[in-house]
Symmetry: C2
């Protein structure tokens, strides 16, 4: 059984857990202690030198980024259609996996990390939180505009069906209110969030219905 | 013929131009005037609401991220082997395409953008350049460590052959000195850069052999 190194507060891990739930894929889950800094310890770094969750170990294979993990699981264990069926479809999906890794990660992800977790990312303890937070909010606004434009008049990001592109973009967008970024101005995004939440097998994540969730002091 | 919206100073565009040169793919090139802000004008935003280069338009298809463009070109026009041949190989490649979109983009890319271009990115004019630059340098250091570890004892990032994973990670790493980030401490990375530069058909980019290249004032 594939083993997922995950954390219950991690939205990037949730991308994989959500997809596994929707596609009925069974994973063994190992909780990495992020507040205890386990992801920067030697045992974890031996598995993933990037020091990040999620990681998937499946037999001889190890994947260290949610985009790679989603691609692997969709192509190997899921019903056809969750990934791309040919090169053109794959490239359309990857267009949004990359958007998720860049715009989303350094926009709504970062705002949430600072507001809800006073966090660090990629080994960077945010130096001057107000500067980084301000940049993240500008980028969040712009990326929500892009997403709203893309979703206007269509139900799913690409290919006319739910794919791992939607699953990859969904978590940090739906969690944006944790970073004090409201979703009220974006009707197409809100309708898309509702469609994803209505998919059979959907599971929630910490903070999705409680944007004021904060990591407990004892864990920090 | 596929049409590439590109700019001669853009490292993300260079990923595609370099790959096309190596794989002998002919593209029509349209130079987007970045200093003139053409990428934020209505005509360009109608093609790419993200306001970024590169963009590839190929018949009815449009791809708005270098990772998607590389995947499309490799799977459609290139000799087999540049992309992944099956799901496992594709996922291994995507692991590094995602690294390029996140770690590289917000590390060495950002340091170069500030130092050499005093630039903006994703609609964000860097608010307090010294804070953002400092974060980018910390992230650059960490990402070069990760890359050095990955390349120690192997010639290519994945699959034992040059792939679009290498082509995607290469530009901003090779251009790191433009952001005042030296490559001397990283022997495995330097050897890998030399291997890529020795590939038949290789083309350089502005700044590769002149890290003190700066955009002319008249263009700024």
């Amino acid at each position: 059984m594939p083993k997922l190194y995950t954390n219950f507060e991690s939205g990037n891990s949730y991308k994989v857990r959500l997809f596994a739930a929707l596609a009925r894929i069974t994973l063994e889950e190992y909780q990495v202690d992020l507040p205890g800094n386990e992801h920067h310890g030697p045992d974890f770094l031996a598995i993933n030198p990037r020091g990040e969750v999620p990681v998937l170990v499946d037999g001889e294979r190890t994947f260290r980024d949610s985009a790679a993990i989603l691609t692997w699981l969709a192509g190997t264990y899921a019903a056809p259609g969750w990934g791309g069926r040919d090169t053109g479809e794959q490239a359309e999906v990857i267009d949004w996996l990359a958007f998720s890794a860049s715009w989303i990660q350094y926009g709504v992800f970062t705002a949430r990390a600072i507001v809800s977790f006073r966090g660090t990312y990629n080994g960077v303890g945010f130096q001057k939180e107000e500067v980084t937070l301000n940049e993240a909010r500008i980028r969040s606004q712009k990326s929500l505009e892009i997403l709203e434009t893309a979703l206007r008049g269509q139900d799913w990001l690409v290919l006319g069906r739910p794919t791992i592109a939607d699953i990859s973009v969904f978590p940090y967008v739906a969690l944006a209110p944790m970073g004090d970024i409201p979703l009220e101005p974006w009707p197409a995004i809100r309708a898309w969030i509702d469609r994803i939440r209505a998919l059979p097998g959907f599971i929630p994540v910490i903070g999705l219905d409680d944007p004021h969730y904060r990591r407990k002091e004892s864990q920090a």
